[in-house]
């Protein structure tokens, strides 16, 4: 799943809804988020990722983050969430499935 744009209090509900849809429509338990197109993300974005991770863990799965730009890597770092999500420096191409935009 690829996310493009800015994630904050204004856009987070849309991302949250997209995750809810994805998790309802599919039985997948591994989601890799391509964040290379995310220019900005604050704690509301992190909260959405955490709630998706929680749902995926209930299924025995995981949520991984790929290709974060420096600004996104910084928030992952200062919150310590880079040790909660597996962070890939680049996007593993074979894993790309859909491209909703936030």
């Amino acid at each position: 799943m690829a996310v493009v744009g800015e994630i904050d209090l204004y856009t987070a509900p849309r991302l949250q809804a997209e995750f809810a849809r994805l998790l309802q429509e599919s039985t997948t338990n591994l989601v890799v988020i391509d964040m290379s197109g995310v220019e900005f993300c604050d704690s509301t974005g992190m909260n959405v990722l955490l709630s998706a991770l929680k749902r995926l863990r209930e299924r025995g799965g995981a949520l991984e983050v790929a290709g974060p730009r420096p600004a996104v890597r910084k928030i992952l770092q200062v919150t310590g969430l880079d040790s909660v999500f597996t962070v890939h420096e680049t996007v593993p191409e074979e894993l790309l499935t859909a491209e909703p935009k936030a």
Partner: protein
């Protein structure tokens, strides 16, 4: 160069990206490094998010920025109930809230809270500006045409 501006915003999330545009463009015009700009924008977004969420019942809030003398100072002023909780450490990954203030602390040099119960909260963020090498002199942007 010394810039000051003040924005009065509706207490709605849609205004937060606008604050980032205005502040980000101002800082970038002054050749502030991208890392420094993104730290400031992150902290300001967190503070604005708090003002939007907890600054009720007032329907507006204010952002005052002063950029100059190698510093950027931003005040986010709401007229809410002034009941901001101060977390001591990052919450466990199970919890989805409570990170905003700690993120602000981590990315700016100084942060002050002025909390008046029943009257509002002012968050003052201050950060020393890192300027791109070789771009110290102001006014180096070129005209598109003459």
């Amino acid at each position: 160069m010394d810039i000051e501006f003040s924005l009065a915003l509706p207490r709605e999330a849609i205004g937060i990206p606008m604050v980032r545009r205005v502040l980000g463009d101002s800082l970038r015009s002054l050749h502030v490094t991208e890392n420094c700009v993104s730290d400031i924008l992150l902290a300001v977004s967190e503070a604005c998010g708090n003002a939007v969420r907890y600054g009720g019942p007032a329907n507006r809030y204010q952002v005052e920025a002063a950029i100059g003398y190698g510093r950027c100072d931003v005040r986010i002023i709401d007229k809410g109930r002034g009941l901001m909780r101060m977390p001591e450490r990052y919450p466990s990954p199970d919890l989805e809230n409570g990170r905003g203030i700690l993120i602000m602390r981590a990315v700016v040099d100084e942060i002050f809270f002025d909390i008046a119960p029943g009257q509002g909260t002012t968050v003052h963020l201050s950060k020393r500006l890192d300027v791109e090498e070789g771009a110290r002199a102001p006014g180096r942007r070129e005209l598109a045409s003459v």
